[in-house]
């Protein structure tokens, strides 16, 4: 008996993966970013958030290949002496954490509501779909700003933890709609199929049917959407941080770093903002490419 | 006699990542002008693929990998798509199974008919419209002058199939390939449609290749029938002979399986096993694992079509041995 991952490697999806150079490359990059973000304390040469280790004397050093740079700070330092490379790694950690968490919550919320709307139909369906319509008419950033503002007003003291909570909440609330709609559509189709009717004739309760019969069959497109949405979530988080309502400056994400560095762009210290930007693009691109490959791989017509 | 359509040793393959699948493995038959040939078989036998190959509508990556298809002596399997487009519609018409998707829902049927006529025949638009109205009348659509400007959704299923038949005959083709034209219709409409098809093709001298899994339809409509199994022709011959005196064990088994409306039986005859999948076709004769008359030779060598009474069957049972003993007996 082959182990499960060997079976996956041999299957149609595994074959599609290993014969697609973009998918393999994208997966490698995403994996690299993910692992280094996870093991940040061991991977990063310095800890940029340990104020004691900062040396103002080495502030604003250019990247190592410049004559003034040093290899202890491979990508240079910012205005407070923080090593850019380490800041990148820790920043990516924050970005990925926010991105993955908000997508996970979006999926949970969206799939549940979509399943319920599609299976029960009637006024439940109508209500939920109108809710979706309302949510879609607000731009994500606006909602995030709104929630951030309200959060700050309500809890003026619990700043740091609140910041992350608000951030994740706002991205979640703007992202769940597309899952709900997709799942609702698929549920409407699956509900008519005879295996669902057979389960009803057996006497299985509706909740059980939704969970055990319909759900496994509607998750395919959700997987693709979720992968691509991780990139969107990371970029949204970066935007919010850039605008100042995202991650707090004490634990900066990539967006915060970009904002901080922006001020120094025209004085010639381009590395403070460009490197975080490149990292952001790299992560978003690799995740997007993975999502594209997954969508084609799961499409039965193209196999 | 000059054959209208000749198919010789047609091979259709599908390259997949697990190897090349042979969907049709040496199919040969011909159709005389004005004749109605039935092609019957179960799912996976390759009958629809044969029709698609002839019309030139094989879906890639499927491709013709061997053999020839000749229309009035001219090869059509190796034509460029532009050339095939001229032949398709003008000399070969097609009728598909689902009348709902065979017609473009956005255009009136008049427009679809006149478009076909104008593409293939050298007539003025006014003449084309007259021909279209006449076609609709011939296919039994009432109030043709009005209904020509209606949209497909305004017709019922049976009416729509009549329009599809009119469309197939619009450019006056010599051959009509009909792929399961009555399967999606109710029983009472089926009878009307097959009567219509038979009559109208006879009137216009068009030959028909009727692909179906329904033996009853074949019995009522066709002159000759080809029985397909696992991508090959198992038996071919006049309809009455194939049905009542089948020479191939598969045909014989199939005939016995069909529940007969006029007779009661305690237990239906069944052929054990199932048609092999394309990647599991056995060596020798494709039917031998399910055949109760299989000999050693059937496991090794694949039989070609050979004369068997009034039909031709691909079965070693009917091989005529050229031994001295037989000659002696004949003397």
């Amino acid at each position: 008996m082959k182990s499960w991952w060997m079976r996956w490697w041999d299957s149609d999806i595994g074959y599609s993966f290993r014969t697609s150079p973009t998918a393999v490359l994208a997966a490698l990059i995403a994996l690299l970013c993910g692992l280094s973000a996870l093991f940040a304390p061991w991977v990063a040469p310095h800890n940029p958030f340990d104020l004691a280790s900062l040396d103002l004397g080495s502030a604003r050093l250019p990247p190592a290949w410049y004559p003034e740079g040093a290899w202890t700070y491979p990508l240079g330092t910012d205005d407070q002496g923080r090593d850019i490379l380490s800041a990148l790694i820790y920043g990516a950690r924050i970005s990925l954490f926010v991105g993955l968490t908000s997508v996970a919550l979006s999926v949970l919320l969206g799939v549940t509501l979509g399943l319920v709307a599609g299976y029960l139909g009637g006024w439940v369906d109508a209500l939920l779909m109108r809710l979706c319509d309302v949510m879609l008419s607000f731009p994500a950033i606006l909602i995030a700003l709104l929630i951030a503002g309200v959060g700050r007003a309500l809890f003026p003291n619990a700043h740091e933890t609140l910041a992350f909570g608000v951030l994740i909440l706002s991205i979640t609330l703007t992202g769940w709609v597309q899952y709900a709609r997709t799942v609702r559509g698929s549920t409407l189709v699956e509900r008519q199929k005879e295996y669902v009717q057979a389960a009803r004739v057996i006497g299985v309760a509706p909740l059980r049917i939704m969970r055990r019969h319909v759900l496994p069959n509607v998750l395919g497109p959700v997987l693709v959407l979720a992968t691509i949405q991780v990139a969107t979530a990371i970029i949204t988080e970066a935007t919010l941080s850039f605008l100042g309502v995202g991650a707090p400056p004490t634990s900066p994400s990539l967006g915060t770093l970009i904002r901080i560095g922006n001020d120094y762009l025209f004085s010639g210290e381009w590395w403070i903002t460009i490197f975080p930007g490149v990292m952001l693009v790299l992560i978003a691109l690799s995740v997007n490419l993975l999502g594209d490959w997954l969508r084609d791989a799961l499409n039965p017509r193209l196999r | 006699m000059d054959k209208l359509l000749e198919v010789k040793d047609l091979v259709v393959e599908f390259p997949t990542r697990r190897g090349v699948l042979r969907a049709l493995d040496g199919v040969s038959f011909d159709i005389a002008p004005g004749e109605i040939l039935g092609v019957v078989g179960e799912s996976g036998a390759g009958k629809s693929l044969t029709g698609a190959a002839i019309i030139g509508l094989l879906e890639p990556p499927g491709r013709i990998a061997g053999g020839e298809i000749r229309l009035q002596g001219q090869r059509i399997d190796n034509l460029l798509s532009a050339q095939m487009r001229r032949i398709r519609g003008r000399r070969i018409g097609a009728i598909f199974q689902d009348p709902l998707t065979s017609l473009n829902p956005l255009y009136t049927i008049g427009r679809q008919l006149t478009e076909t006529i104008l593409t293939h025949l050298d007539v003025t638009p006014a003449e084309a419209r007259q021909r279209a109205i006449q076609l609709l009348k011939d296919t039994g659509i009432p109030a043709a002058e009005e209904r020509i400007d209606h949209y497909p959704h305004q017709f019922s299923g049976g009416m729509r199939q009549r329009v599809v038949i009119a469309l197939a005959l619009a450019a006056e083709p010599q051959l009509v390939v009909a792929d399961e034209p009555t399967t999606a219709l109710d029983v009472s409409i089926q009878a009307q449609i097959i009567t219509l098809l038979k009559r109208i093709c006879r009137e216009r001298g068009a030959a028909v290749m009727l692909v179906t899994h329904d033996m009853g339809v074949i019995a009522e409509t066709c002159d000759r029938v080809a029985v397909m199994y696992a991508g090959r022709v198992a038996e071919i011959g006049p309809v009455h002979e194939v049905i009542h005196h089948p020479a191939h064990p598969y045909t014989a088994g199939l005939m016995r399986c069909i529940p007969d409306m006029d007779m009661e039986r305690e237990r239906l005859h069944q052929i054990d096993g199932a048609m092999p999948r394309l990647n599991e076709i056995p060596r020798g004769c494709a039917f031998h694992p399910r055949c109760d008359k299989a000999m050693l030779r059937c496991h090794e060598q694949r039989p070609n079509l050979m004369p068997a009474g009034a039909t031709r069957a691909a079965c070693w049972l009917h091989e005529v041995p050229a031994t001295p003993a037989a000659v002696e007996v004949a003397q």
């Binding site: 057979a198 004739v201 057996i202 | 019995a219 069944q270 052929i271």
Partner: protein, 362 residues
Amino acid sequence: MNTRVMDDPAKAMTPGLEASVGSEVCSPRPALPQPLVVVEDLARTFDVSAPWLNRVLERKPRQLLHAVDGVSFEIARGQTLALVGESGCGKSTVARLLVGLYAPTRGRFLFDGQDAHAAYASAQRRQLRRRIQMIFQDPYASLNPRWRVEDIVAEPLREHGLLNDAAALRERVGELLRSVGLSPHDMVKYPHQFSGGQRQRISIARALATRPDFLVCDEPTSALDVSVQAQVLNIMKDLQRQQGLTYLFISHNLAVVRHVSDQVGVMYLGRLVELADKRTLFTQPRHPYTRMLLDAIPKLHDTSRARTPVQGEVPNPLNPPSGCAFHPRCPHANARCKAERPVLQSMGGVRVACHAVQEGRI
């Protein structure tokens, strides 16, 4: 076979006639067993109107679809009743009414003497669902593609708590698979690894898991090839004999029906037009629609016979003709047929709903 109907004419009467005779209900003879399935004037209407807002804005009327418009029949234990008809006749809706997927808008379904729909709506539904099961038409959609065969067949057992021990479940599933001609080793596979005929057999195994008394079969072999169909029909007949099952067999294929059924009911636009035992229906069809159906089927033998011309198509069920639904296509229709709907009446062992037959015109 249908002598019970003859001996107990009151039971055969439809409500209309019963009212005119007087409301006597003859008590059944003590010696005769009650039929397992008794359906009385069952009807189901669907509201297919446009959404409320559209109706108000565009002033569209309410549209009601009378999918089933008053059918009555009985099935004795161990027998098979076949319901035949063309598209739109309501036979699939009847099937779904009997298994409780729909609630009736009118009429009753008595299963083993008790009101089934009351049971479906109450706490007794579990008991009932153990005894009534269904087999569907599409072998590709009737099994969950993500479940293993073992879980599919074991689901009714798990749901009703009949067997809880994993080993016992596996054994019972193996036994069920063997009874339909599959191997117990097949239970670890997924549905896509099987052919259409084999999947239909898995459906049958699942339906028989709770040892039901009554199986509703909705076109179980229509999607199968002829040779596979023969296998599945033979299995169904064997199982019926072995386990004393009662079948309601829905089909549009009269040849198949001839093979499997004991009684046949012909439906047209939601109504039963003829109900007779098999032999009588096929040799002496009474109703003009039955005759037309039997005539229209292309036959393997006797292909040169003359046919009565078939007129028209099945009308739109949203707008059925007045009086007798078949009158626009019937060669024997008169003024009464256009105005008055015929009731299903017993005539010489056969039930027919036709004025012409009842008046003796044909």
